[in-house]
Assembly symmetry: C2
Homo-oligomer: 343 residues x 2
């Protein structure tokens, strides 16, 4: 119908052109391209020179057609979309994964599975083999997409321990429980005794583990667990604000709040300010993540740093290993207490 490529792109050189230019055969060029074993130094040099001269770039479609690999990776987000907007962690993760893959010359396909339709479309796309593996961000339990991909045998690495996918799925996570323990111990060291907590969603391992760390430390220190001091949120700023208001109503005597994410902690700060409690004088507030929200908050948040740069790098490493035939594995990375103004 219409003339394509108005700009006038010319036909790119093929492996054949390079072969002719270098005075060798296609096979030799291909060998130079992939590994370079069993090829003489002279031939290799000639081929490389020809590649430079012609400006040859391999046609990945042709390669994929025969190898069966796509040499690309999907970054799949099955969280509700609002979180993607709001949560600075996703940015960091996405960037880290993109860069780690770039080092292997592997493009990243961004896939957002918000609606049911999108879910189906993406599942088909992936199981059809259009990506070699999937980096999954979805902490919610019983994710049907993840389930299907697992069953279809698609290499998969989750960010955070997935629930209900059996033990055969790889994941990379921060040491949530340890991090929570560090924070609660720190709050105790400040002399706080009525420490409230705003948990993450309790159908996610992150949410569960951080609460578990809190309870462990309390038990170890002989402090009674008071469930009026515990409310749960969904990692959003709004849920932090609402949670803090519930806490203030239930336990006006609280002197610290451990919040399971920095974004929620922002909301907590807002609620405390409105209630006339000053931070950190009246109430100490501890966050979790060390996302950019921690620096944006007023006062800046004392928080538990999740090493997102390392997490993304590990996710990519584990996924590529798995695509290469290795068994699934789990990686837990240590967290770090970062002290700032809020506690």
């Amino acid at each position: 119908m219409t003339m394509s490529n108005t700009g006038g792109r010319r036909k790119p050189p093929t492996i054949h052109d390079v072969a002719r230019e270098a005075g060798v055969s296609r096979g030799t060029v291909s060998r130079v391209l992939n590994g370079g074993h069993y090829v003489s130094p002279t031939a290799a040099e000639a081929v490389n020179a020809a590649i430079r001269k012609t400006g040859y770039v391999v046609n990945r479609h042709a390669r994929s057609l025969i190898t069966g690999r796509s040499d690309s990776i999907g970054f799949l987000l099955t969280e509700p979309q609002e979180r993607f907007f709001e949560d600075p962690n996703f940015n960091v993760l996405l960037r880290g994964c993109t860069q780690a893959l770039a080092a292997h010359d592997i493009p990243l396909l961004l896939m957002l599975a918000g609606t049911e339709d999108e879910r189906r479309r993406i599942t088909r796309y992936i199981t059809a083999g259009h990506v070699d593996g999937v980096l999954l961000v979805s902490s919610h339990s019983g994710d049907p997409v993840a389930q299907e991909l697992c069953e279809a045998g698609v290499p998969l690495v989750a960010c955070g321990k997935p629930i209900g996918l059996g033990s055969k799925v790889s994941y990379v996570a921060a040491a949530d429980r340890d991090g929570a323990r560090d924070m609660v111990r720190y709050l105790l060291s400040l002399g706080r005794r009525r420490i409230a907590v705003v948990t993450g969603p309790l159908d996610t391992p992150g949410g569960v583990e951080r609460l578990a760390g809190y309870r462990e430390v309390l038990a170890e220190e002989g402090i009674e667990y008071d469930d009026r001091l515990v409310v749960s949120g969904d990692y959003s700023r709004a849920s932090g604000e609402a949670g803090a208001e519930r806490l203030l109503a239930q336990c006006p005597d609280l002197d610290a709040v451990f919040v399971a994410s920095d974004l929620m902690a922002q909301g907590v700060l807002t609620a405390l300010e409105r209630a006339g409690r000053s931070v950190p004088q009246d109430v100490s507030v501890g966050g979790f993540d060390d996302s950019s929200a921690a620096l944006a908050a007023r006062p800046q948040l004392t928080t538990i740093r999740q090493p997102y740069d390392r997490i993304s790098a590990e996710m990519v490493r584990v996924l590529l290993a798995q695509i290469g035939g290795e068994d699934p594995s789990a990686v837990i990375l240590p967290t770090e207490l970062i002290k700032r103004g809020s506690a």
Copy 2:
């Protein structure tokens, strides 16, 4: 060496399998797949049934090999990477583009060109024809990547008017000048007369235009332009904070600040708070973007809304049209004044 695909993925059905199942030829199946012209209802029905039965999904690599199209689009970010972290606008844009493309069943490849190496790698990748077109986010002038892509005739749509790429490149932008005018007029309507401004980078059209809008309105109202009331930032929160401090030092009598981005406005609020100025009583603050930062700020920001959802949708529309052979075009979308607590 190693056995690939431990999970045991089976070979997916091909067009041949579908043809056999439906009792027709490859050609007919292909015709049903692409448009469906010149194919009898009976055959079409049989083919569709066979597709459903076999679970057939087209092999895009094989298709691309022959059509020359890749049926994928690159989302290219050449901004310094920190902005990508911090700025909530990117998220919205990225999400919007991904979804708009998903509606056309076109995957989005995320490309971050931070370092010089990455720039080269990505340029080669794109000019080699591995994507059909590029959605470009890079407002900085003289972007070498954009330049090269343009010259190579790669279909390209920029977010915001690009500088120095000639008039033959498509772009989608908000009406920056109008938006700035609306905000300044609104601040005047509040009785403010000493209106300071924190501009964006002045090597970007956005930065220039928003400042121009400010000056226009001042001139129209017969208010003298005072360049001590003008400082420029780089859209980051930190630069907003620093800018406000300079302004307060230079012009302690300022009674309003028009800030060229919400993120910078957050920094401005911080600096004003530290200086003991209350917002909006002592000083009115107006932002720009209506990003999530506007809601996160305290008080919430009165701002100029950029319709990012429409911008991303238009970017995709224009790009696809251009790939289809149409000429480059520019789209300017209207902004909207959103009143909240800060002014």
